[in-house]
């Protein structure tokens, strides 16, 4: 069963298209990473899925229903982001109690234990928390609610490295015990790639790739060697990224269409073949130019 079905989704904000004809499907009980640059439309997409904003054109269905103004979707989706507006009059404990009253699967014990583990004072108010602690509290809300579709938008923003690690581990443990559909948008792909099953890569409001992480890791390879030799080898290949190293050395990332023998011949010609990490590949794929920031400084 598809949890989310999206067809030609477009959202226009004052003239610019935050989402531009986006189409994809997300299956049940998978952890999907929503990856893209700043302004690629990740948050907009999550907001539409959560029913906070309405699409301009196209169709999006969550649990076979349009999310905007749907009580069923709202009851089965929780959306955590760093601009959450929580009632200021309630302290953390009261906020958790309120959440418990709304979500039938709420795990009170887990919430209390997490709150205790991350040393959050139950009598404190959400607005008095630091950025990282707010994110930590959001995560507690998201995990304890145990709703069929959990959306995390930049869940680790502001968290320190230790808390980030704890978060990934907590998420995985709870997911294994209670499988559910989770979408995480994050800039730290290298940290979460072991957690993810699928990756949805968006660029300028469009779907670039939607595939399992394992496939993405094999999707491209990096070639390094003499510029002239590399140029010869990559002539008819799909070049994703190029970088010059030193005077006549370059590093080029191409689509992985190499066969075993081809790879051997390349190595014999003095080319180093290295795998490209999913994280790096996503950066290359979502970049506007083939040369990255170097192009800005190379005036010639």
């Amino acid at each position: 069963m598809s949890v989310i079905e999206c067809n030609g989704l477009t959202k226009v904000y004052g003239g610019t298209k935050a989402l531009n004809n986006l189409s994809f499907k997300i299956e049940e009980n998978k952890i999907t990473g929503l990856i893209g640059r700043n302004g690629a439309g990740k948050t907009t997409l999550l907001k539409i899925i959560a029913g906070l904003i309405k699409e301009t054109a196209g169709e999006l269905k969550v649990f076979s229903e349009k999310p905007f103004n749907s009580l069923q979707v709202s009851a089965n989706v929780i959306f955590l982001h760093d601009q959450m507006n929580l009632p200021t009059a309630l302290n953390l404990k009261e906020l958790l109690e309120t959440a418990a009253s709304f979500y039938p699967n709420w795990d009170r014990e887990l919430a209390d234990r997490l709150l205790d583990y991350f040393s959050l004072n139950p009598l404190q108010h959400y607005n008095g928390l630091s950025k990282g602690m707010k994110s930590t509290f959001n995560m507690i809300l998201g995990l304890s609610a145990r709703v069929p579709l959990t959306l995390f938008d930049e869940p680790t923003s502001g968290m320190d490295a230790a808390v980030r690690k704890d978060f990934y581990r907590a998420l995985l443990k709870d997911y294994i015990a209670y499988p559910r559909t989770i979408i995480i948008s994050s800039h730290h792909l290298n940290e979460i790639e072991d957690l993810l099953e699928d990756i949805l890569l968006v660029k300028e409001g469009k779907e670039l790739h939607h595939m399992p992480v394992a496939d993405l890791k094999e999707w491209a390879i990096g070639l390094q060697g003499n510029t002239a030799v590399i140029g010869e080898w990559t002539k008819n290949k799909e070049v994703i990224y190029t970088k010059s190293i030193g005077i006549d050395q370059s590093y080029v990332v191409v689509r992985n269409h190499f066969t075993e023998t081809e790879g051997q011949r390349a190595r014999n010609a003095g080319i180093d073949i290295t795998p490209v990490t999913a994280s790096d590949l996503c950066v290359y794929l979502t970049s506007k130019t083939k040369g990255g920031i170097d192009d800005v400084f190379n005036k010639g």
Partner: protein, 249 residues
């Protein structure tokens, strides 16, 4: 994970309970405003004085009219307040849609008006006590609760309805402002412009007529119908207008 089924009434109920707790600040402002109004009333709301060489007569009227007026204003402002982003977006953290959010707001305002109505009416007793002990030793002619319990109940009920009417008006005004910030200028301009225009023409216009329509009704059933229908219309207007509002930070 299996899907949860929810009903509108169930969600509205939960939201109402949560709002009573989360919006508790509005009751603090109610107490503050009513105390302020009691303070203003200590000088009397009206009176006359006269006499000759051997006698001085001073007549002062004390009433809780100020308190009631302040409470109506409080209802209006509270209703505007809960339509603002800070409060509206709170709902969207938990389970909600726009209909349930509006309905629970309406029920909350109904409760708030009721509490406001009771405290406004009871404030007249506070006023009497303060005047007796601190201002004048002259006992004030007044009816006790036991003498005329029905009058007090009637007073509470009609005050409650007036406050609720103001809440409904405030809710619509607040919703309009949420739709476009232009209304923050347009609505006061229309209201005060209308008053000034009426003053210049020397005739009573629409605003005066509206006041007359609600505040001079002598038949209780008719008064109840007027308020319920008007508040219903104001709320439905707000519901329809806000049903497409997006949640933006």
């Amino acid at each position: 994970m299996s899907l949860t089924k929810v009903s509108l009434t169930n969600v509205v109920k939960k939201q109402y309970v949560y709002k009573l707790k989360a919006y508790s600040q509005v009751f603090m402002s109610l107490i503050f405003l009513q105390l302020l109004a009691v303070f203003f009333s200590l000088n009397g709301v009206g009176g006359m004085a006269g006499g000759d060489e051997s006698i001085d007569v001073e007549v002062k009227y004390f009433s809780s009219d100020y308190v009631t007026a302040f409470t109506m204003l409080w209802g209006f402002i509270t209703a505007i307040l809960i339509t603002t982003k800070a409060y509206r977006n709170d709902d969207f953290v938990f389970v909600t849609n726009r209909v349930s959010s509006n309905l629970s707001n309406a029920v909350f305002l109904l409760t708030a008006s009721f509490i406001g109505g009771i405290t406004a009416m009871l404030s007249s007793y506070l006023l009497k006590v303060i005047i007796y002990y601190f201002i004048s030793d002259v006992p004030i002619k007044s009816t006790t609760i036991l003498e005329a319990p029905l009058e007090l109940l009637l007073g509470i009920f009609s005050t409650f309805l007036y406050i609720f009417l103001f809440c409904a008006l405030g809710y619509l005004v607040g919703t309009l402002v949420q739709i476009s910030k232009a209304f923050t200028v347009l609505l006061p301009a229309a209201f005060f412009g209308g008053l000034i225009l009426d003053g210049l023409r020397g005739k009573s216009g629409a605003i005066a007529y509206v006041f007359e329509f609600f505040f001079t009704e002598s038949s209780l059933p008719l008064f109840i119908v007027k308020i319920i229908v008007s508040a219903g219309l104001l709320f439905s207007g707000a519901f329809v207008l806000s049903n497409r509002l997006e949640v933006r930070a």
